[in-house]
């Protein structure tokens, strides 16, 4: 579970997608982000940012998310990697 308020939570999900930690929704599969998927994305973001890996939207994590930054994603090509994996499985 997350200690963030709903607005912080939705903002964080948007932030995680924007900077490459979560896949952007695919209109062809329309999957729902799972709680575990979001927590894992938070963990990777925390690792990348040098924070303690809790998987929770704690105050340190929200603080780092609100810091001014470069617009480019931190994880590049995650969607491409997932798409390739899916294609290979098929």
């Amino acid at each position: 579970s997350t200690s963030a308020e709903p607005d912080q939570y939705s903002r964080a999900v948007d932030w995680l997608g924007r900077y490459g930690y979560l896949p952007r929704p695919d209109p062809y599969t329309s999957q729902l982000l799972t709680k575990e998927g979001i927590e894992e994305a938070v963990r990777i973001m925390q690792r990348f940012g040098g924070l303690r890996e809790t998987g929770k939207l704690d105050s340190e994590t929200l603080k780092l998310m609100s810091k001014p930054r470069c617009s480019l994603p931190d994880i590049v090509g995650r969607d491409d990697i997932l798409r390739r994996r899916r294609r290979r499985k098929r």
Partner: protein, 442 residues
Amino acid sequence: YALSGLKWDKTDLTWSIHSYPNPSTSPGLANNVVEDLLTRAFKAWSDVAPLNFHQLRRDSNGATAKGDIRVSFDSMFHEDGYPFDGQGGTLAHAFFPGTLDISGDTHFDDDEIWSYAGDSRSTDLFTVAVHEFGHALGLSHSSSDPSIMRPYYQGPVEDIAHFKLAMDDRLAIQQLYGVKDADRPGGDDPDFPRLPSPPPPRPTQHSDPSFQERCQGGFDAIGNIRGEVFFFKGAQFWRTQRDGSLVSLNPAQIKNFWIGLPEGTNKIDAVYERKSDSRIIFFIGSQYWVFKDTVAMAGYPRPLSDWGMKKKSGERVNRVDAAFIWAHNGKTYLFSGGEFWRFNENIENGQRTMQPEQGYPRENTLWEGMPAPIDGIISWGEGNTYFFKDNSYWMLTKGVLNQDDVTPKSIAVDWLRCPAPPSTSTPANPRFPKKCTCNFLG
């Protein structure tokens, strides 16, 4: 360090400046100072790799030459898919090397207060420029500390004149272009996976049959789930993301996505995502379901009476109109008819309380100007509360129950990517239902 997989196939690169910081936002940063800072930022990279940067200036006709790396200061939407967001937030971005027109281009947010060696309110242009030029040369974000390629702004460097790249950044640029003064400038092709080519563009699919459904409003339930807004109508639903885009113009079928609701479900009354454990709660008639992600948990449906809601008249509540968590206090609110109940769903001593708080129900009219009964309510944006009814929505600022200006707006236009209707008439204001609304033209 991390590499983008792209690099220039030459080491002599040209750059040009196409606009300068707005003097009213960034006073004291004259054009010649900007040029000097950017020149020094390039030098940080050419000090450690066999790269040469030449600035192209305006020609005799006043036109700015193009060059490999074009620098500009832009605001908000500037037609490259990476809109800026005013002061703070995103500061700048650059495009990786390549053969496209935009490759290498570097954009700074003109709404920032740019400076050098300035105070904490301003942003150091030199520091950000070194970072962005790293992207323009082929570097991705690094998680190392220290590294100029960390994604977050780290404040100004101590001494611009003597700035030296950290080891992580030196190794990264030398991996791409070789070591300065080495026998063979340019370096070998780096040994890392190339990004796949993007899939070919697909033609836009027209969705005429669902267009009316989506754009005429009248949703059964609206919920903020996993950071997206879900609009349920009949047996289908649409999803709007935080940036305002729809996951798809075509609706998804409830039965194909939410597994465990009864066969033939064609109306959801209310839905919300529980704060304490991210479970998703659906209300249909006098029953409710708890979902873990997209699958209903065992033991559901359960009767609505579990929630202990009774009307002021003493009757049991047999349906829920809307449910949401108010960002202001983190509590859960359920609405039915003209009344609402408040719940504290935190788990205490291993137990979740399912009883409404003392003093409830209360009248919907406490939320001044909001219609009743309501189709859906969410907390969204900066914690503001959005009320949805028919094809209109109303916004109350975070924590506020009554505010002077509550103008209804169009759900279709603002949330579901529908064209604005040709009429300029304003929807009725439920706060003053019989009062005429004059617009500027009226």
